[in-house]
C-alpha cells in the first residue's frame, strides 16, 4: 500500500516580503547584468543556442551577453503549471502554485549510521535505505539523491543512485546528482523505461533534473549539457543558485538576489530557447557566508529571508520553485538545527514555495541523520498546521459550548471539544511528559526519531519494481559503465 502525501494547500497565512516595485527593480537590474556584464556558459551546445538567438557570445571566455527582450520572450514560453509524475500515479505532484511539497535533502557525503551511531562515508545502501524510509513518510513527497553512493564509480554513480531510489520508492525523483552528458542520456533512458517509453515519459515525467549554477554569474558545463538533454526528453529542469552574500554574491541581500536571479533566469531562458515549452522550475538556496571564515552557513536571517523572497521572483516569472530550506550548519541534531530548519521552512512555506529541499542533512548538507530526517518531518507537520490559520465561523466560535460551560467549569466534557480535539496538533517527538517521567529515562526527540526510523527500516516494504524493469535499469547502467 502506498502512503498518501501531506502537502500544504489553501494557505491562510501570507507574507509581504517584496513589493511589486521591489520585484520590478530586481528584474530590471538582473536584465542589466545579463545584457552588460554577461553570464558564463561553458558548453558548446549552450553557446550555439545563444548565438542562434541573437546573444553576444565570446567563445574564448564563454561569456554571453543577452538582450533583456530575448530573456523575457524566452521565459514566456515556460509552462506556469505542470505535474511531477510518480511511479504510483496516486503520488503525482501537481505544481500548480497551491501546494508545498517536501523532498529529502541532497547530496550528503557522510551518514550517521543508524545502528552504530558512528559517522561514516555514504554508500549505495544508504541511498536505498533513505529512499525506503522516505517512501513510508507522508511528509515526504519526492526524493532528491540524499547521499552520494561513494562505493560506485564516479561516472555512473548518479545512475546507481537513481536506480536505488526507484527500487525502494514509488514517489517522484528529482536528481541533483546527474551532471554529465553521458549520465544524462542514460538517466533519460532509465526514466523512459519506468514511464513506458519516450512519449510516455514526456506525458508523465517520473524524473526531474536539478542543476546548480556556478556563482557568481556562471554555469557548469556538464550541468548545462545534462539539463539540455533532460529538456529535450521533456523532463522538468531547474537551475539552483547558491550565491552567498559576502563571497559569491554582494554583501547586500538585494544584490545577492540579483546575482542569483541572473544565473537562474539566463539558464532557464536557454532551456526555453533550445526546447520551447519545456517544463522548468526556479531553484535557489541562497544564504550569507560566515563573516569570520567565509564558510557556507545554511541558516541565519539572510537565509530565511531569501527563502521567502525567491518565491516572489519565481511567481513573477510564473514558474514553480524548488527552494532550499531545512538548511543547517549544525553538526548534530540540536538547538541550532531546530531553529534553522524551522524558520527556513516556515518562511519558504508561507509564500507557498512549490518544493522544499529537504529533510535529513546536517553540517551544510554534508552529513545524513535519520534522526534529523524524522524531526524535520515533524517541523514540516508543525508548519503545515500553522498554515491552516484560524478559521472563524459559527462552529469554531463555539458559543454553545461556552454557554454550556459558563464561568469556572471546563470544556473537557463538551461534545464540541470531542468533535474538534483532533484539530489540535499532537507532536511525535516533543517532550510533553511529566518531569519525573523524563527524569527516569532522560531520553527525548533524538531517541524517539531514531526508533521510528529503525522501525520503518525493519518493517516497511515498498512496492517493488517489476523484475524485468529492474534488469533493464541494470543493463542501461552497465552499458555506460562499459564505456568508461
Amino acid at each position: 500500500m502506498t502512503s498518501k502525501i501531506k502537502s500544504i494547500t489553501n494557505p491562510r497565512l501570507s507574507l509581504d516580503i517584496l513589493s511589486p516595485e521591489d520585484v520590478q527593480r530586481i528584474h530590471t537590474a538582473t536584465l542589466d547584468v545579463i545584457e552588460t556584464v554577461g553570464v558564463r556558459f561553458p558548453s558548446t551546445r549552450a553557446l550555439d543556442v545563444w548565438e542562434a538567438h541573437g546573444a553576444t557570445v565570446d567563445r574564448d571566455t564563454m561569456v554571453v551577453k543577452v538582450p533583456g527582450q530575448v530573456i523575457e520572450d524566452a521565459l514566456k514560453q515556460a509552462p506556469p503549471t505542470y505535474t511531477l509524475a510518480a511511479r504510483d500515479a496516486a503520488q503525482d505532484l501537481p505544481l500548480d502554485g497551491n501546494h508545498v511539497y517536501v523532498g529529502t535533502d541532497g547530496c550528503g557525503v557522510q551518514v550517521i549510521d543508524i545502528h552504530t551511531g558512528e559517522r561514516r562515508r555514504s554508500v549505495l545502501q544508504d541511498v536505498a535505505d533513505i529512499a525506503r524510509v522516505a517512501d513510508s513518510l507522508e511528509e515526504i513527497a519526492f526524493h532528491w539523491v540524499a547521499v552520494s553512493a561513494q562505493d560506485r564509480p564516479p561516472h555512473t554513480r548518479g545512475l546507481h543512485e537513481l536506480r536505488a531510489i526507484w527500487e525502494n520508492s514509488t514517489k517522484h525523483v528529482q536528481t541533483e546528482s546527474v551532471y554529465s552528458e553521458q549520465e544524462a542520456h542514460a538517466a533519460v533512458e532509465m526514466a523512459a523505461a519506468i514511464a513506458g517509453g519516450r512519449e510516455a515519459l514526456r506525458e508523465r515525467p517520473v524524473l526531474s533534473i536539478m542543476q546548480c549554477t556556478a556563482p557568481p554569474l556562471g554555469q557548469d558545463g556538464g550541468s548545462l549539457d545534462a539539463a539540455l538533454i533532460g529538456a529535450e526528453a521533456g523532463l522538468p529542469v531547474g537551475f539552483m543558485t547558491m550565491a552567498a552574500c559576502l563571497t559569491t554574491g554582494p554583501a547586500t541581500r538585494a544584490g545577492n538576489l540579483v546575482v542569483g536571479n541572473a544565473e537562474v533566469i539566463s539558464a532557464t531562458a536557454l532551456i526555453q530557447l533550445a526546447y520551447p515549452g519545456t517544463p522548468v522550475f526556479y531553484a535557489a538556496a541562497q544564504t550569507a557566508s560566515d563573516l569570520r571564515t567565509g564558510a557556507y552557513t545554511g541558516g541565519g536571517p539572510e537565509d530565511f529571508l531569501f527563502g521567502a523572497a525567491t518565491n516572489v521572483l519565481s511567481d513573477f516569472y510564473d514558474i514553480p520553485l524548488s527552494m532550499g530550506s531545512f538548511a543547517t550548519g549544525a553538526k548534530e541534531p540540536n538547538w541550532q538545527a531546530g531553529i534553522e530548519d524551522s524558520l527556513s521552512t516556515f518562511m519558504a512555506s508561507i509564500v507557498m514555495s512549490d518544493m522544499l529541499l529537504g529533510v535529513g542533512l546536517l553540517h551544510g548538507s554534508r552529513i545524513w541523520s535519520f534522526e534529523q530526517m524524522l524531526m524535520d518531518c515533524e517541523i514540516f507537520d508543525l508548519v503545515y498546521h500553522m498554515m491552516q490559520g484560524i478559521v472563524v465561523d459559527d462552529d469554531t466560535l463555539a458559543l454553545d459550548a461556552i454557554r454550556a460551560v459558563g464561568p469556572g467549569g471546563n470544556f473537557l466534557t463538551q461534545k464540541h471539544t470531542r468533535k474538534h480535539m483532533r484539530d489540535i496538533w499532537l507532536p511525535q517527538f516533543m517532550d510533553r511528559r511529566s518531569y519525573e517521567a523524563w527524569e527516569e529515562k532522560r531520553d527525548g526527540a533524538r531517541e524517539w526519531a531514531r526508533q521510528k526510523a529503525g522501525h520503518i527500516l525493519a518493517t516497511h516494504q515498498p512496492e517493488p519494481l517489476d523484475p524485468q524493469l529492474s534488469a533493464e535499469l541494470e543493463r542501461i547502467i552497465a552499458s555506460v559503465q562499459g564505456k568508461a
Binding site: 469556572g408 471546563n410 473537557l412 466534557t413 463538551q414 461534545k415 471539544t417 470531542r418 480535539m421 483532533r422 511529566s434 518531569y435 519525573e436 517521567a437
Partner: protein, 215 residues
C-alpha cells in the same frame, strides 16, 4: 439479551454519552439486572477500553473525562437500587480531595477526581478554597483512606503542610494517606511536608492512589 445490554453500556461509556448511560442504567433496573453486574460487566468494561485506548495513544483526555462522566451518571442511577438490594459496590478506597484554602484553581484537581472516580475510588470532591477543618471533618466522616490536596500557588502550597499537621493532631494520620499535586509541587516538597504520594498529572495520580491503598 443481557449480553447486548452490557455491550451497549460499555459503548455508552466509550462514546462518553451521559444520557445513554443513564437510560441503560434505568433499563437494567427495569429488567431486574443486578446493578453490580451492570457496573462490572457493562460500564466498567467501557472505562477499561477507553483507558487502554488512551494508553495506546488512540484516545485523548476528553475521551477519558467523558467516559468518567458517563460512568458516574450510570452509577448515580444504580445507587438507590443497590441500597434497596442491600448490596454495595466494592471500591478501591475512599478519597477526599480538594484545592487548599486561598487557592481557587479547579481543573487539575477536578481531573484527578474524575480519573480516580472512574478507576473505582469513592471520591468526595470538596471543591476549591477548602479550609483545613473541612478536609479534617470530611475525612473523619467518610473514614477516608486518602486525602488529596491540590495547590497551584507557592503561597498556598504551605496549606498542604497545614492539612497534614491537622490530621496528625487529630490522630488520623496513621490510617489516612495524603497525596499532593499542583504545578509548583515537586517530589522534594512532598517529602519535606511528609506527604505519602505525589503526581504531576491526573493519569499518574491514579497509579499513586492505587499504590497508597495497596490496590
Amino acid at each position: 439479551m443481557g449480553k447486548e445490554l452490557f455491550e451497549s453500556m460499555a459503548q455508552s461509556v466509550i462514546d462518553g454519552e451521559v444520557e445513554d448511560a443513564e437510560r441503560l442504567a434505568r433499563q437494567a433496573i427495569e429488567q431486574g439486572v443486578d446493578p453490580l453486574d451492570a457496573i462490572n460487566q457493562g460500564f466498567v468494561i467501557g472505562v477499561n477500553h477507553v483507558g487502554a485506548e488512551y494508553a495506546a495513544g488512540e484516545m485523548f483526555l476528553p475521551d477519558l473525562v467523558l467516559a468518567g462522566e458517563a460512568m458516574k451518571a450510570a452509577v448515580a442511577v444504580l445507587e438507590p437500587e443497590m441500597q434497596r438490594r442491600g448490596t454495595k459496590r466494592q471500591m478501591l478506597g475512599t478519597v477526599v480531595i480538594g484545592t487548599v484554602e486561598g487557592d481557587i484553581h479547579d481543573i487539575g484537581k477536578t481531573l484527578v477526581a474524575t480519573m480516580l472516580s472512574s478507576s473505582g475510588f469513592q471520591v468526595y470532591d470538596m471543591g476549591v478554597d477548602v479550609p483545613i477543618q473541612t478536609f479534617l471533618d470530611k475525612a473523619r466522616e467518610t473514614s477516608a483512606d486518602v486525602v488529596g490536596l491540590s495547590a497551584l500557588l507557592t503561597t498556598t502550597m504551605v496549606k498542604q503542610k497545614g492539612v497534614i499537621e491537622a490530621l496528625e493532631e487529630a490522630g488520623l494520620r496513621p490510617q489516612i494517606k495524603v497525596m499532593v499535586g499542583g504545578a509548583p509541587v515537586t517530589r522534594t516538597w512532598a517529602e519535606e511536608i511528609g506527604a505519602d504520594g505525589f503526581s504531576e498529572d491526573a493519569i499518574g495520580a491514579v497509579a499513586v492512589a492505587k499504590e497508597l491503598v495497596g490496590a
